[in-house]
């Protein structure tokens, strides 16, 4: 709003001249004022840096939206091994903001990690980057080597007495490793199964030590906060959602990509103003405001301000800041099916409601598509979603239940119409082929009844999604 009101330039903190050639190198980064925030932060005590972070009001950019300053303050004091883990396992469908940051300005992230480590008193840090991001991990590794040689990482950084090690750890393709405790298990070299909370990672995390886990974008914002001061940063955005946010817009828009926005601007301005909206003649049918895990909103919600609390008020969430736009030519069943199949594939299988709930939701959606469902199936499906939410160790199950639940609630008529159309197709199709085949005298049992004998949508185990290496393999 503020930017629109002033008619001036949108405040750009993270994307400033991000395409400048060589910004990924230390030389260019330092020429542009890089690592000055670190020097400033090292002049301050950890408490003072923490105060700045708290004053900034910045909330976690990974999905949960927890206030970063508060999270840092949860770490116990005292001398012991404490860990800082940067969550760069950006796997939420629709999200690709961290990729842009790590690829083009990796030093911003490294600087943010050092400052956060100073504030939290951690001495070991890790960047857990998803294995698919090969180029980005290489960029980070190169930047890390430069930073180490320049004395920003290691013992006694810039003669401040602060020591910090940093390791870039590459994952191997599992959505669940973006969940903080699943990530910790994976970083310890195990299968990425989430842990029971409490104890929270701040108390007992990596290697059972106190651990601070933050998203790439959150940590990359820290240098900007220190440079401008927490209170100045808090003037950006709206009261409960301060600062700027990177949003990744994708799906049916004309200019998909990453945009840095000031929190609180109308969502319409992002989808239509920045990303160009759906193609000519198409309308927005629904949109995910925060990755595929967020409940969908409809066209009439486009004027909701894009910030944490307003979106929560509209019944959805800001999540990772990934807007996926679906236009009116797409059947809602396809969207639901894609979403549900993804979570079925990625469920780690530890908790029953999620493992079974995702599986049965896909089966029921397939029944609808095959015309074998009854209207009651929609109610059953909705109740399955309700029984997943809040009943698992992590929120992966919820992440399917919320969008699917919202689709059933908001597009009930369309689901029912689809169901009826598919059923009629079966009846007519069967009748048509019956007469054709009966004329040839080749049919003893109508094919329609054969189909009905099959359990709806049963799929060969391991055949789903064409991914033989699935970690659910062997079911």
């Amino acid at each position: 709003m503020a930017a629109a009101a002033t008619g001036g330039r949108v405040p750009i903190l993270l994307f400033t001249d991000i395409d400048e050639p060589g910004l990924n190198t230390l030389e260019v980064y330092e020429r542009r004022g890089g690592y000055q925030s670190l020097r400033k932060a090292l002049q301050m005590t950890p408490e003072e840096v923490l105060e700045q972070l708290k004053a900034s009001g910045i909330r976690g950019r990974g999905g949960a939206g927890f206030a970063m300053g508060t999270k840092v303050s949860f770490l116990p004091k005292g001398t012991m091994d404490k860990y800082l883990v940067c969550n760069a396992d950006e796997s939420e469908p629709g999200t690709f903001k961290d990729r842009e940051l790590m690829q083009k300005t990796p030093h911003t992230l490294i600087e943010g990690i050092i400052i956060a480590a100073h504030a939290a008193g951690t001495n070991r840090s890790f960047i857990y980057i998803r294995g698919e991001y090969v180029l980005q991990a290489d960029m980070l590794d190169a930047a890390l080597n430069e930073a180490r040689e320049a004395g920003y990482i290691g013992e006694n950084i810039l003669d401040s007495g602060l020591s910090l090690s940093l390791v870039v750890h590459r994952g191997a393709g599992a959505y669940i490793c973006g969940e903080e405790t699943g990530l910790l298990d994976s970083l310890e070299g195990k299968r990425g199964n989430p842990r029971l909370k409490p104890p929270f990672p701040a108390v007992q995390g990596l290697y059972q030590g106190p651990t601070l886990i933050n998203n790439v974008e959150t940590l990359a914002t820290v240098p900007a906060i220190v440079a401008m001061g927490g209170e100045e940063y808090a003037k950006l955005g709206v009261e409960t959602s301060t600062g700027t946010k990177l949003v990744s817009v994708s799906g049916h828009v004309q200019r998909p990509g990453n945009y840095e926005i000031e929190l609180g601007i109308p969502s319409r301005e992002i989808i239509y103003g920045l990303a160009g909206g759906p193609a000519e003649g198409r309308k927005v049918k629904c949109w995910f405001p925060g990755g595929s895990s967020s409940p969908v909103l409809k066209e009439e919600d486009l004027d909701v301000p894009y910030d944490f609390n307003s979106l929560a008020g509209a019944g959805s969430m800001l999540g990772s800041g990934a807007i996926i736009v679906v236009d009116d030519a797409t059947p809602i069943l396809d969207v639901a099916m894609k979403t549900a199949k993804f979570y079925r594939h990625e469920s780690c299988g530890k908790c029953t409601p999620c493992r079974e709930g995702t599986n049965w939701t896909v089966k029921m959606l397939e029944r609808i598509d095959l015309g074998e469902a009854t209207p009651m199936d929609l109610e059953i499906m909705a109740s399955v979603q309700e029984h997943i939410i809040g009943n698992c160790l992590c929120v992966l199950g919820d992440a399917m239940a919320m969008p699917i639940g919202s689709m059933i609630a908001k597009f009930k008529d369309e689901f029912e119409a689809h169901m009826e159309a598919a059923r009629m197709r079966n009846v007519n199709g069967a009748a048509a082929s019956d007469t054709a085949l009966a004329a040839q005298g080749a049919l003893e049992e109508p094919p329609g009844t054969l189909l009905a004998h099959q359990p709806g949508g049963e799929q060969a185990p391991g055949a789903h999604e064409g991914a033989p290496g699935t970690h659910r393999g062997g079911i």
């Binding site: 001249d17 395409d19 050639p21 698919e132 994976s186 799906g251 396809d334 004998h453």
Partner: protein, 241 residues
Amino acid sequence: MSTPEEEIVEFAEEMEVRAADTDVRMPVTRFAHGSRVPGWDLPADLEKDPAEIPDPATTPVPEDLRAEIEGHLAKYPDRRSAALPALAAAQRVHGWCSPEAIEQVACVMRVTPAYLDSVATFYDMLETNPVGRHSVYVCTNISCSLCGADELYEAVRNAAGEDSDFNVRAFECLGACDIAPMASVDGIYVGPLTLADVPQLLDDIRAGRPVLPEKQLARRLVADPHANSQEFPLHPAEGGS
């Protein structure tokens, strides 16, 4: 009455037939004991001792691989943390996480092969079956499929055909929805792809050329019009890569 071993073979054959064409809906066959999965009710083979940590004296490990794994081990406070990078390194050497590869990693890491098996079967990028040496991951998640990724995947799969050099997989969101529909070819992101790009994509891989250079993600500028205060040409560091 067939033996459990024969059942397993039959089951595997049938699964292959089904995997070849997922569109064909077949009734689910069940075994006499009611299970769809053979062998679940068979006891573990108690005659056989579990595999122990391999003996370095009898397990030859390529020198490069050993050095790389030891490098990873040195980075972490707990040696098990090196499991993922070590398995990835072994996969680069062997093409997949073969029993031999797992044995070698286990030998250097001083853990049991079963432990590494448990890790390798969890992660999508670690292959527990032999695969082609060029991986083509086509993203078929929501944003890409809205832009036609399913047709793209079919086209790539058909074009690759029986060529055993290719490991074409439909993959979950690869984090590049701005270039949807896209694919990751041996780790290099390319997009947005059209069906017309598919022949060149495969030809480039076969010839060992950079894949569709003009469509590589590394060359793409940020979409935000406010981000850059001036027009920048391509990153010199990325233009050629």
